[in-house]
Amino acid sequence: MEAVKKYSETELVLLLKQRQEAAFSYLYDNYAGALHSIILNIVTDAELASDVLQEVFVKIWRQIESYDDTKGRLFTWMLNIARNASIDTVRSRSFQNSQQNRELTESVYELAGSTKIATDQIGLRKLVHQLKEEYRTLVELSYFQGYTQDEISKMLDIPLGTVKTRLRTALIQLKQIIKPA
């Protein structure tokens, strides 16, 4: 993001806990884009993703007191809020219904070659696409769809131990992809 960094993370958290609008505005300007990507990765519908993004920032604002900097970075905490909110949205019944109603129009858009966002070509999911197929499916199911390893084991009919090992390997590879050169 373009915004100039003017707070250290400690200062930013302190100012957010003091309910400072300027600090929250700074937080939004610096992180909304990154969180928007992860939400789009999971929710895939642009309009709905905007709503989830707003909901995520409301949660960040209202739950900032529960953020514990000894447990990790602010962004890790926010990323998990965004991921969980997105998965919850996808799993909610109303979303399921709207997705079904939408299927027809979506295929129409796709046929027309519209500018609809390719939500698997952005953010973390784009990086996951660089993994081998057998790892990619596991990360998709686990990270982007929120299934537990046990659920995945049953879903794919693979032993839980294998799911765990493969997933760990996938994440190590992902780490290599993520790591700045």
């Binding site: 003091q18 400072q20 609008e21 990154a34 928007h36 990790g72 990323l79 973390l124 990086l127 790591k179």
Partner: protein, 274 residues
């Protein structure tokens, strides 16, 4: 336990991405507390995850921020931020609150005072103008009274000195009544028997017409001698010195006088009493 192998098992990434189950997370947190290498590994992955996510950012539609801030507008603090954790919350907040109230009242009081003061300024300015006008009128009146007073004083002095002259025992009074056809005219000559100065009092003489002047004649041994012209003067007018005369008369002559009197223009005549 082989910490290096643990770190490289993928558990760190799984934990940071929120994919580790409760048991795995608890185990990692416990180990991290004991092993700085684990804490470093977590911090390192978090940093690269954040950098990567920011690099992969998708700008949200611009209206989201406005909607978000509108939703939260009542939850923002109205107070100045503070960086000191311990004192931050209470002390400066109430202090600033009451102080800003104080200044609010102070400002209100200032405005009221300004309005009252302006009103008073206007009132007193008008009063001052009235008083100045009255003073000017009084000064003018005072000056005109003083001037009148001076005039009266001068006149009074003239009259007094005239009276002195007229009542002097050495002064010969020659009364000159109007001649036939001019009976309503009257003038009086006062002739100093010692200095021979002649003074004239025009008791009743019509205003001389434009470019004409009254002229006094002394009749000396039957002949008229010019005794002077009657100019504008109050009371007694000093004319010429006449050493001897038996009578005095006044004629109306052209302006500046004549060498001989125009007899048909005689107005008054009086003999010097023996």
């Amino acid at each position: 336990m082989d910490i290096r192998a643990y770190i490289e098992s993928g558990i760190i990434e799984s934990y940071v991405l929120g994919m580790a189950d409760a048991q795995e997370a608890a185990e990692l947190e416990q180990l991290a507390a004991q092993h700085p290498e684990i804490r470093e590994a977590i911090a390192s992955f978090e940093a690269s995850l954040e950098a990567s996510a920011i690099a992969q950012a998708t700008p949200p539609p611009p209206d989201v921020k406005a909607k978000l801030f509108s939703e939260l507008k009542n939850e923002f603090s109205a107070t100045v931020p503070s960086f000191t954790e311990s004192t931050a919350k209470v002390v400066p907040l109430t202090a600033t609150g009451s102080r800003s109230n104080f200044f609010k009242y102070l400002a209100a009081a200032s405005v009221i005072l300004l309005v009252v003061s302006s009103g008073m300024n206007f009132y007193f300015y008008n009063r001052l103008n009235d008083a100045t006008d009255k003073l000017l009128a009084l000064q003018t009146e005072h000056n005109s009274i003083l001037a009148d007073n001076k005039t009266y004083q001068t006149r009074l002095l003239d009259i007094y000195s005239n009276m002195q002259l007229m009542s002097d025992p050495q002064m010969i009074k020659v009364s000159m009544p109007g001649i036939k056809g001019k009976e309503n005219n009257l003038a009086t000559v006062f002739w100093d028997s010692k200095t021979k100065d002649v003074y004239l009092l025009a008791n009743k003489l019509a205003q001389a017409p434009e470019n004409k002047q009254y002229q006094l004649w002394a009749i000396v041994n039957g002949k008229p001698v010019d005794a002077g012209l009657l100019n504008d003067c109050n009371g007694l007018c000093k004319l010429k010195n006449i050493p001897a005369a038996q009578a005095f008369a006044i004629t109306l002559e052209k302006k500046g006088g004549s060498p001989t009197p125009t007899l048909d223009q005689m107005f008054v005549l009086g003999k010097v009493s023996g």
